[in-house]
């Protein structure tokens, strides 16, 4: 398989979960495990461009696939606009759900460059956050959507924005 653009070859036990392979064999610990049942979304990565919860599949099922993890999102030291949005709009607190949340948000914006608040909320409802109440995550995605369209992001609430 290819992970973050690098070819990877390994022998794994058939029962090894993809998320464990990424975290423990490749030491890509940015992808987190939160529930082992595919519900919390902390383990979300992109497989061939689609968001997938990596605790729900075995590593061997990703044989030959192209995988992007949170570590592979920034390019040449330049943050992805979604990463920037999370930083600029306080879209994270403890940071544990953040990599998965960012990967899902990136996938959302790939399919919809002008999502409404409702579309954002439904787009990330497969990712659980216990810290932010999602309020600022929505603002972060709005920020990123504007940036990706080449527009000025909305004013932050703490500067009087809505």
């Amino acid at each position: 398989m290819t992970v973050n653009g690098q070819p990877v070859t390994a022998d794994v036990e058939p029962r090894t979960l993809l998320v464990h392979f990424l975290r423990e064999d490749l030491r890509l610990t940015g992808t987190h495990v939160g529930c082992e049942t595919g519900y919390c979304g902390a383990c979300t990565v992109h497989i061939d461009g689609e968001p997938v919860k990596s605790c729900t599949m075995f590593a061997v099922q990703a044989d030959g696939a192209s995988i992007t993890t949170i570590e592979g999102l920034a390019s040449n030291g330049q943050l992805h606009p979604v990463q920037e949005g999370f930083w600029e709009r306080h879209g994270l607190q403890c940071g544990y759900c953040t990599p998965g949340m960012i990967m899902s948000s990136v996938a959302l914006l790939q399919n919809n460059d002008r999502p409404s608040e409702e579309e954002i909320r439904h787009g990330i409802e497969g990712n659980l956050c216990r810290c932010t109440g999602y309020h600022n995550i929505v603002r972060a995605v709005e920020y990123a959507a504007a940036r990706m369209r080449g527009e000025e992001p909305p004013t932050p609430e703490w500067e009087g924005g809505e």
Binding site: A42, Q83, H90, Q93, C94, P99, E125, C131, G133
Partner: protein, 791 residues
């Protein structure tokens, strides 16, 4: 956005660059070579004698290094990190189990999959005994869980009698007398404040490494209380705390569940010492649901007495609180936190009694708010019912009974004094930002169309800033597990020889942004740019002794400690700068990365020059020692008492019972704010957790004690699609208790929100005659209430 490092600015977080790139390190991310992995055999039954336990097959499996049971660890005694009352939790089950999820055996293997395989190979037989789950049944002592205690009742808290030394008057007769008044309106409701699972998204994890040559342990743990953990491990393993270095790296949420020291943390540390290899355990989500502490779990009857025109005359609560099968860190003390705010924002006599009982369930302890959401829920729900009874607006009835600004510090019947407050200013602001009158009109119009729309108001006051010396006298001190402390705050501030600053604090975040907030305090007061201030926490080797992040206490207790340390450093730096500038220390002003003489901004030195001199004795004035750092341990004179009022609008679907949370407004007052962006973030998350309790979450054991909500499929958390954006505003009433004027904000959102949502739903259903529905307000329950009301 403010780019300068000023207190009060919405500064972007220093923590974030690592976290948004997946480069933050949480405990499970650490993997030293040759690390062994742990899996626990946990009880599948709620109450039983263990009649046979055979680990021989498991021991013989390839890759299995050790299998431990109670006999192997009996010499360590029961878990030290618990209230030393009643039945103590053993490290591993001692011939009996008392709740589903209780640890029976510990398997250590070369990898996690092998460890889990071996758990399956352990043979255990049980003689199952009847379980006690229902709180009233537990209180009846029909079945006594721990024979040797003779009762399930561990303790009873009363409003006046919680601490004899205070000599408080029992106000119950005053409330009873008020009930007899001719004009008295008495409203009483029995309510459940259901058991919850904290669900930090990062599961708990612990990694221990022992250096035999030096007799030292290094323990990484996903904990809110590194110093307490160090003390507890040392006490339990017969070591010195200085030799047990605990590091809490990034911690992925805590909400109280990581405020306990757990048997697994002790056992992993002990095993690392026994085996001479690194040992790591990371809980599964199922373990997080059944073997990490739960919160809430009360049933009680709240009674409010008032006049027909809305004057409160007294309040009573008679409740039972669920302790679980054993107590842990605070457990039995949780209701006490509620007791201190039992009267909310109102001046009235209180009669309050909470019985603490054992059940065959996981231990309860501090979950965001800890006792305070329960206390406020009962009070604010019954106030709402009373307002409805007398036909008065619920906001107005609250305002009529608030403590007035000139009455602070206001001494309550429980003996504590509210530090500062202007409660009506918060409701005034709330009326304004929400257009309360307009909301009511919109609700009434919707009602005319036959829709079930409701508005809920909920006020709260909370008690934060745990650190007053008096608390240690009551017993809030972890002396029994090696941390004798008055819950003081601590901070160390050091200006390095290159002019940058390092700050070590005794409390570490689980997402609250301490690196940023504390950086702002130090940067503001020294004039060193924020990017040159680095804040360290959560490492017992480098941090001054601290107590931990919980109870919204960090900023109110450890914040002032850091401020005072900063001021000492500044005073010394002023002497050095004065010497370098040939001026008087009192004429030195700090700004823009250095110091200058007042009135002569061009006559200055930068921090590098000051620091360079500070570490070279020959460059210092007489009487000034070299070095440039200070450590302060700080104890406040009182707790702090944040407050606020929240407002929600909901619509109930009469056909399905589904509740839609349409709008949510909150005005909170946490005193001065150091970073308003972070403050609002805390409130957002807190509200979501309160809404979670109101609408979704419920930790359910069946009558036999089986855990029915062991996964996130069965224990629904609010998702992004379930919540609206929140509209927040603040009033600022500085606390006179500390030099920052801060109060704390970590729990306010949760304490203010559950009852607000329930009040709104009951308001929506009121036209049908519904007076109360217990949480969580899931569709079936609400639908049933509608059907019963219509029947």
């Amino acid at each position: 956005m403010a780019t300068t490092s000023v207190m009060g600015g919405a500064v972007r977080r220093r923590e974030d660059p690592a976290l948004i790139q997946g480069r933050g390190k949480y405990t499970d991310d650490f993997a030293p070579p040759a690390t062994l992995r742990v899996a626990f055999l946990r009880s599948p039954v709620a109450r039983a004698k263990i009649t046979r336990l055979d680990t021989s097959r498991a021991r013989a499996m390839p890759g299995v290094v050790a299998v431990y049971t109670h006999d192997d660890v009996a010499h360590l005694g029961p878990l030290v990190a618990q209230v030393p009352l009643g039945k103590l939790r053993p490290l591993l089950a001692e011939g009996e189990v008392n709740h589903v999820g209780e640890a029976i055996a510990m398997v250590i293997a070369e990898d996690r999959y092998l460890a889990q395989d071996a758990v399956e190979a352990i043979e255990v037989d049980f003689d199952v005994l009847p379980a006690v789950i229902d709180l009233k049944k537990a209180a009846s002592d029909e079945i006594v869980i721990h024979d040797e205690l003779g009762t399930n009742r561990l303790h009873t808290w009363t409003y006046h009698g919680y601490w004899d030394v205070l000599g408080l008057e029992d106000q119950t007769p005053l409330v009873d007398e008020a009930m007899q008044r001719e004009d008295a309106v008495v409203v009483s409701i029995e309510m459940v404040n259901q058991r919850l699972i904290p669900v930090a998204i990062e599961p708990r994890s612990v990694l221990a490494e022992f250096e035999a040559g030096y007799g030292r342990l290094t323990v990484h743990s996903s904990t809110q209380v590194p110093h307490a953990l160090s003390g507890a491990i040392a006490t339990q393993l017969g070591m010195q705390a200085r030799d047990v270095r605990v590091i809490a790296p990034e911690v992925g949420g805590g909400f109280g569940c990581k405020l306990n020291v757990y048997n697994d943390e002790i056992l992993v540390s002990w095993a690392a010492r026994e085996l001479g290899r690194p040992v790591k355990w990371t809980e599964t989500r199922r373990e997080a649901a059944g073997a990490t502490i739960h919160g809430r779990g009360w049933i009680g009857t709240a009674t409010l007495v008032g006049t027909k025109d809305g004057q409160f005359l007294g309040y009573k609560l008679d409740a039972i609180a669920d302790m679980g099968a054993y107590t842990q860190n605070f457990t039995v003390a949780i209701p006490l936190l509620g007791l201190w705010i039992a009267s909310g924002q109102y001046k009235m006599p209180v009669g309050w009694k909470v019985d603490c009982v054992y059940t065959n369930t996981m231990t309860t302890d501090a979950y965001r708010g800890a006792g305070r959401p329960e206390a406020i829920y009962y009070l604010e729900r019954v106030i709402d019912a009373y307002a409805r009874e007398i036909g008065m607006d619920p906001m107005e009835v609250r305002e009529k009974n608030f403590w007035q600004p000139d009455e602070f510090p206001a001494t309550m019947g429980c003996g504590f004094s509210l530090d500062s407050g202007d409660y009506a200013s918060a409701t005034r602001k709330l009326r304004e930002i929400a257009d309360y009158e307009g909301m009511k009109r919109r609700r009434d119009e919707a009602r005319e169309e036959g829709r079930l729309v409701g508005i809920g108001v909920g006020s709260y006051v909370e008690v934060c800033g745990f650190g007053p010396a008096i608390l240690a006298e009551i017993g809030f001190s972890w002396t029994n597990y090696g941390l004798p402390s008055s819950f003081n705050g601590s901070g160390l501030v050091r200006v390095n020889p290159d002019g940058t600053a390092s700050v070590m604090i005794g409390t570490g975040p689980t997402g609250q942004g301490h690196q940023t907030t504390w950086g702002q305090i130090v940067s503001e007061n020294l004039g060193i740019p924020l990017e040159d201030v680095r804040v360290y926490h959560g490492d017992t080797l480098t941090s001054p002794m601290g107590v931990g992040t919980f109870g919204s206490r960090s900023i109110a207790v450890d914040g002032p400690a850091t401020l005072e340390a900063t001021r000492l450093v500044r005073d010394k730096a002023a002497k050095i700068a004065a010497h370098l500038l040939e001026a008087a220390p009192e004429d030195i002003v700090f700004a823009d990365g250095g110091a200058h003489v007042a009135g002569s901004p061009d006559k200055g030195v930068d921090w590098k020059a000051i620091a360079t001199a500070a570490y070279q004795a020959h460059k210092l004035p007489e009487g000034v020692d070299s070095g440039l750092e200070a450590t302060i341990t700080w104890t406040p004179g009182n707790a702090t008492w944040p407050f606020g009022t929240h407002l929600a609008m909901v619509e109930v679907d009469p056909d399905t019972g589904n509740v839609d949370l349409l709008e949510y407004y909150a005005v909170d007052d946490c005193g001065n704010q150091i970073n308003p962006m972070i403050v609002n973030g805390q409130i957002h998350g807190g509200i979501a957790q309160g809404v979670g309790q109101a609408m979704f979450e419920d930790a359910i054991y069946d009558d036999d004690g089986n855990m029915l909500t062991g996964s996130l499929l069965d224990y629904p958390l609010p998702t992004a699609a379930d919540l609206p954006s929140f509209k927040l505003a603040h009033t600022v009433t500085p606390s006179p208790i500390n030099p920052l004027g801060v109060k704390g904000i970590g729990e306010a959102g949760t304490i203010g929100s559950a009852h607000t949502v329930v009040n709104a739903v009951v308001d929506a259903l009121a036209p049908l005659g519904v007076k109360h529905v217990d949480m969580p307000l899931r569709p079936r329950k609400v639908w049933t209430a509608i059907q019963e009301a219509r029947a």
